[in-house]
Amino acid sequence: MKREVPLFITFFVGTLLIASVFIPPAESWGENFSVYFDIIAVFAFFLGGGNLLRIHLQKVASKRPDWGYSIVTLVAFLVMLAAGLFKLGNPGGISGNLTTAQSWFQILFQNIMSPLGSTMYALLAFFVASASYRAFRAKNRDATILLVAAFIILLGRTPFGTMLTSWIPPQYDLLQVPNLAIWIMSGPNLAGQRAIMIGIGLGIVSMSLRILLGIERTYLGDDR
């Protein structure tokens, strides 16, 4: 019971969905199952939210290092949850639109969550620079190829790229850096992407099959 039923459910649901692709009346099943999936995922939020509360309450209770910050998390979580679930400050009441401009939910989103998120994203500008410095070194042949390709593309995006190679006559203008950059993107880059994608496609198909056939069952939490 404990092992066989889940394996059967997986096999049955998966095979059903594969078959539905070939049967026009069942074509929309895939979408429907995705909706069921979303609904189950919302139930899982109880688990997630419960876990979050538990971890931070424990931290506060046992006064572990940085426990004060856990209070920040707890308060922020509960305030936002209340603002969203009870639609606090929403002129439309409980049936109003969740993201109405004056509602607490939207104000907190606009002024706290949104700037924090986009700043975190913007840190990438710094990390792109440090990664370039640290990792683009001609240590061996593979690394050199990586470095040269990146450098050509970068150069092609600055006025220097055009300057340095504009003397090359039109018959050989593939060698001008901006053209070379475009060529790398549309030639070798495309080939590489495609090879990776074919591999991924196969890998996923094979992995799905392993799951359906019950060969791969670690997700059930027993590795035997």
């Binding site: 692709v21 070939f22 049967i23 026009p24 009346p25 074509e27 995705s34 999936f37 189950i40 995922a41 899982a44 109880f46 688990l47 997630g48 939210g49 876990n51 979050l52 971890i55 424990q58 940085d66 009441g93 049936s95 969550m113 924090l116 998120g117 986009s118 975190m120 994203y121 840190l123 990438l124 990390f127 440090s130 990664a131 370039s132 640290r134 990792a135 990586l146 992407q193 990776i196 994608m197 074919i198 591999g199 991924i200 196969l202 890998g203 996923i204 198909v205 094979s206 992995m207 099959l209 392993r210 799951i211 056939l213 060969i215 791969e216 670690t218 997700y219 939490g221 027993d222 590795d223």
Partner: protein
């Protein structure tokens, strides 16, 4: 009175002259399209018809006067009475919704209101008492509609009596086909009944919509659903072939054939990295990525986590698994717990090893960054779906001096992992990793099947390429079409 009469006469005259002028000024209509054919739309669940025609001689050439084609279908008058029943039905539905809404709004406010508003509120609440009655009506209407719809094929048989031509679509000049797709739900206004005789006609229309000419009427056609989508036969062939290969090699593996697999640097590094963490006495950070359980990459990551947690338990190192998705967290908890009990140390498993952070991409990044800098893990493993956060993780990890091993099938993020991490499992290698780590013959058998599929790809690509090139050079139509076999038709 007389003046009015005079004015009217004058105006009428003027209009007559104007219309006569318009008539004489109107350009001659374009030649009609010919050969209108209507067929049931293939590979669908019915309720749709494909119409095609030979374009008018005046389309793009000749007088070049076609602007659009109007597609007409003959519709029996009975269809209108069905539509009326349907309109009644949706009218009742709307009324119920309105009363419902008003009632809810007012009943909340009722006790706080005075004067006119109170009366209004009271009215709404009283009106709402009719809702059950309306629901009964709705039910009755549904039955009437259902039986009315059943007679539609019958009504179509009366062609050309008791009906009229209605425009069902318009396409710009230069095109010779149109799909008349209706709804399969008979409560929708655009419902198209199956198994009814449909007649189609196409008009070529000039700049002024009155300059038009009609084609012959097409032969009657039925729309109907099919049980198999022939457009996807190639896909089915691939599914069966791949399934066959996998089962074959799994059986072979079961029979005890030894299967070779080449070493993968990223996989070998995993064990070393766990050892290193033990020596340094620092924890191991394992990220399952920003994917959900709906991503195969995440499931592949579970199998690697199973292996890692068992090793970690054996070496008595600490494991940190911050999660992005609650379902993923649940599964990961089970896996780590099993890993510890497999290693014979169930007591060493702690509930807070695997925990949930948030389902917001950059908040997750912010928190994981904090963990990396404060707990200084010796090894960071990134396996699964990663998006823009990949480089932020990898750089922060490098700053904290951790050994980093990544694996993802997100093509756009692979460059960042390859550049910033010590080892990277590229795409397919991530899915192969579970088979590698487990060293189970069954899993290795599926790898072999995968390789055969790849060999088939190479072969197909070369054959296809030859076919396309030979076809292109020699102008052989069917050879050039070879690649169409792989095109995915919807």
């Amino acid at each position: 009175m007389k003046r009015i009469l005079l004015t009217t006469t004058f105006l009428l005259l003027l209009m007559g002259v104007a219309s006569a002028q318009a008539d004489s000024a109107a350009p001659s209509p374009p030649a009609p399209p010919t050969g209108v054919k209507a067929v049931d739309k293939p590979n669908d669940h019915g309720h749709a018809v494909n119409i095609s025609w030979d374009m008018s001689p005046d389309d793009g050439k000749g007088a070049n006067s076609v602007v659009t084609y109007d597609v007409f279908r003959w519709i029996p008058a009975y269809m209108d009475s069905v539509a009326q029943i349907r309109a009644g039905l949706s009218g009742i539905r709307d009324t119920i919704n309105i009363l419902d809404r008003a009632n809810r709004k007012w009943s909340v406010l009722e006790e706080h209101l005075t004067g006119d508003s109170a009366k209004l509120a009271n009215d709404s609440v009283v009106a709402a008492q009719r809702i059950p009655q309306l629901r009964a009506d709705l039910k009755r209407f549904r039955q009437v509609l259902a039986s009315a719809v059943e007679r539609l094929p019958e009504a179509h048989k009366t062609y050309p009596e008791n009906g009229s031509w209605r425009r069902v679509g318009t396409v710009p000049a230069g095109q010779g086909k149109y799909s008349n797709v209706g709804s399969k739900e008979y409560e929708e206004p655009d419902y198209l009944p199956d198994f009814s005789d449909f007649y189609y006609r196409v008009d070529a229309v000039g700049v002024v919509s009155t300059t038009r000419s009609s084609s012959e009427v097409s032969a009657p056609v039925h729309s109907s659903g099919q049980w198999f989508n022939t457009g996807r036969t190639t896909v089915l062939v691939f599914v069966l072939a791949f399934g066959f290969l996998t089962v074959l090699f799994v059986r072979k593996a079961r029979a005890g054939h030894d299967l070779y697999v080449r070493p993968l640097a990223g996989i070998d590094a995993v064990d070393d990295a766990i050892g290193r963490a033990t020596e340094m006495g620092r924890p191991i950070l394992y990220l399952l990525g920003a994917g959900t359980a709906a991503d195969i990459a995440t499931i592949a990551s579970f199998t690697i986590l199973a292996r890692v947690s068992k090793k970690v338990a054996e070496y008595q190192t600490t494991l940190i698994v911050p999660c992005y998705d609650p379902i993923v967290m649940s599964i990961a908890q089970d896996i780590v717990k099993t890993g510890y009990s497999d290693a014979g140390r169930p007591d060493a498993y702690k509930e807070d090893m695997v925990f949930f952070i948030t389902q917001s991409q950059f908040a997750y990044v912010a928190a994981v960054n904090g963990i990396m800098i404060r707990d200084l893990p010796a090894t960071n493993l990134y396996m699964g779906k990663f998006y823009a956060e990949s480089l932020i993780f990898a750089e922060t990890g490098a700053l904290a001096g951790s050994i980093q091993i990544a694996g993802t099938d997100e093509v756009a993020q692979l460059p960042f992992f390859v550049v910033a991490c010590d080892y990277t499992l590229i795409g397919e290698e991530l899915f192969a990793a579970s088979a590698y780590l487990g060293r189970e013959p069954l899993l290795l058998g599926t790898l072999k099947a995968q390789d055969y599929a790849k060999a088939a790809v190479l072969l197909l690509a070369i054959v296809g390429l030859l076919a396309v090139n030979v076809g292109h050079e020699a102008n052989v139509e069917w050879l050039m079409k070879f690649k169409e076999l792989f095109k995915v038709i919807d």
